[in-house]
Amino acid sequence: MRDRRYSPMSETMFHILLALRDERHGYGIMQHVADLTEGRVILGAGTVYMSLGKLESDGLVKVTSRDGRRTNYVITSKGTDVLRAEARRIADLYRYAKEIS
């Protein structure tokens, strides 16, 4: 499924959706992305908070539980479809770009 608002998707949104295939809270997302990218991508607290708000209002992620002051999120089926479509788009770009080298 292609959503024009998320195609192309920012690297921030891509990483947040990817991280939310498992339930995580805001700081958990930051840690996961830093680990996954070996420190290449560091997401700021303001960016993660704002992005989660947008993704939630667009129905791509949902709140699963509130643990004290922390809120846990997980990707929705719509979010998974959008993430898949974006991954395919990036894979296509990579395939085209390989011809350069």
Partner: protein, 176 residues
């Protein structure tokens, strides 16, 4: 304990990045802003301490979700306080200056939030000023009261204009 006051700082540094840079320069000189409240846009208090590298971040959230503070605090940010819908955060650091907004979209959203808040404040001031000017022109009152209404109307309109200009500057000026 040595302290100093700064007056109307958030009006002098209306662009968030300018305000943050100014606070950080104060900290490097040993003047630490450790608490802000609703009146801090008028008077801010700084405590004299050891010069330190602090990253300050101003963020506008009109209706923050329950995880707003935990997202910042978990990431190592200390809440300095809140002025209206603006929350001020800080973080001591060595080496690279930490960022709370790490992509263009969220940085632009923050800037628009500040510009929007300033625009609303300007609108409220303008309506207040017009009401005072209307009262000066049409209401039945003594000449002394009418003069006060006129002065109030002019002051409110001048403030509305300056805040509206600030909102435009926030939108136009590039961050950092």
């Amino acid at each position: 304990m040595t302290t100093k006051s700064e007056w109307f700082a958030s009006f002098r540094y209306v662009v968030p990045a300018d305000f943050e840079n100014w606070l950080e320069a104060q900290a490097r000189d040993g003047w630490l802003c450790e608490r802000v409240g609703q009146w801090s846009s008028i008077r801010m208090t700084f405590r004299k301490g050891e010069p330190a590298k602090y990253r300050y971040v101003a963020d506008v959230q009109v209706h923050p979700r329950p995880d707003y503070q935990s997202t910042y605090k978990d990431a190592g940010w200390e809440r300095v306080g809140q002025m209206a819908s603006e929350t001020l955060w800080r973080r001591k650091y060595e080496g690279e200056r930490p960022e709370a907004f790490t992509d263009g979209a969220s940085e632009r959203a923050r800037t628009h939030g500040f510009a929007g808040a300033a625009g609303i404040a300007a609108g409220v001031m303008a309506v207040g000023g017009l009401a005072a000017l209307w009262a000066w022109r049409y209401a039945d009152m003594s000449s002394r009261d009418a003069r006060q209404m006129l002065v109030a109307g002019i002051v409110f309109e001048a403030m509305a204009a300056s805040i509206a200009i600030a909102a435009l500057r926030i939108r136009i000026k590039r961050e950092r």
